[in-house]
């Protein structure tokens, strides 16, 4: 049974494209046949994050408008022969496709792949609606910041109203030291506010920047903490029971002591 999963966020810049690239690659590493789809028409980026920008001939709009067959537009990944990218058009705008086109596309991809991962544009307009139209499930990405969490709340409402069920949450760019100091909302804080299921907590990690610079994805780098966290998310998507590590444990004794001093007494917390 193949699954179509859309990754969205509301707010821009919280890690949708990075998550799509990493989860798609991680699922392929597990042996699944995966297509990642860039639904951000006019602002194509999944290709550069995966280092495939030089191989694009056709794009999603070409497929929808019948200028090529789906197979011709799919670009094979550099590392995994069962991982393919369907790039977005760069010179068109979001109105070039409609929800029905995206449903038809998703159903066509479904026949060939175990997983179809769709990278949604930011926002709540047409592009976002197109991106979720063909999805069976939706993953919401947020960071532990007020603006991102607020937008995530809005998006959750829209996803539920669209009949896609309750989405699952990935909290990205968590800085454990700041959380311990009381200067960043914790995973629990965000979960309590958004009240949906958590499928991943990704630590803030500079290797994401360096791997993106090179057009590689972090899950290929065994030393990347964010990469390992994304691999865990991919295993959870596949149905494995993977414990959610508490990121706060990764810090030193000094930070812990400092965190305790800075914290208010337990009783007054909630």
């Amino acid at each position: 049974m193949s699954r179509v999963i859309t990754i969205t966020s509301g707010k821009g810049g919280v890690g949708k494209t990075t998550s799509t690239a990493n989860l798609g690659t991680a699922l392929a590493m597990q042996g699944a046949k995966v297509a990642v789809v860039d639904a951000d028409i006019g602002l194509r980026n999944l290709d550069v994050v995966m280092g495939l920008e030089n191989r694009i001939v056709y794009d999603l709009v070409d497929v929808v408008e019948g200028r090529c067959r789906l197979r011709q537009a799919l670009i094979k990944d550099k590392h995994f022969s069962d991982l393919f990218l369907l790039p977005a058009a760069q010179t068109r705008d979001k109105d070039a496709v409609g929800p029905e086109d995206m449903i038809a596309l998703a159903n066509q991809l479904r026949t060939e792949f175990d997983y179809v991962i769709i990278d949604s544009p930011a926002g709540i307009e047409g592009g976002f609606r197109n991106a979720i139209a063909g999805a069976d499930e939706v993953l919401i990405i947020t960071t532990p910041e007020v603006s991102a969490v607020r937008d995530a709340d809005r998006i959750i409402g829209l996803v539920e109203a669209a009949g896609k069920g309750s989405p699952q949450l990935i909290i990205n760019r968590i800085k454990p030291r700041m959380v311990n100091r009381g200067d960043m909302m914790s995973t629990d804080d965000v979960l309590q506010i958004l009240a949906i299921d958590l499928i991943g907590a990704i630590p803030d990690d500079e290797t994401i920047v360096t791997s993106t610079n090179r057009g590689e994805v972090a899950v290929l780098d065994r030393t990347s903490r964010a990469g390992r966290a994304f691999s865990d998310v991919a295993r959870r998507i596949a149905g494995e029971q993977v414990p959610m590590p508490t990121l706060e444990d990764e810090q030193g004794v000094f930070d812990k002591l400092f965190g305790m001093l800075a914290r208010r007494p337990r009783g007054s917390e909630r």
Binding site: E145, V146, V149, V179, G182, D183, M185, S186, I193, R264
Partner: protein, 84 residues
């Protein structure tokens, strides 16, 4: 205020401030009550109340959204003009 005061005074955790602000904003977002709609609500409420309680001053009506422990609520206050 000495240096020691600064050192020992408990700084309010900015993550707590973030959480509180978010929860308050989300009460409004989720109810979808815009400031314009709130004004309209107040105007209509005052018209109804005035029919029964003429001593209500329409300019003093307060309608506020509150975040509660278990449920959120909309609270309206209608101060009455004192009469002899």
């Amino acid at each position: 205020m000495g240096v020691l005061d600064g050192l020992f005074r408990r700084r309010e955790r900015s993550s707590d401030i973030a959480r509180e602000r978010l929860l308050t904003v989300l009460v409004h977002d989720r109810v979808k009550l815009t400031p314009e709609l709130l004004e309209q609500l107040k105007a209509e409420l005052s018209a109804v109340i005035a029919r029964y309680v003429p001593t209500v001053d329409p300019d003093t009506i307060e309608v506020t959204l509150f975040r509660g422990e278990l449920i959120d609520h909309l609270k309206a206050e209608f101060p009455l003009r004192r009469q002899r």
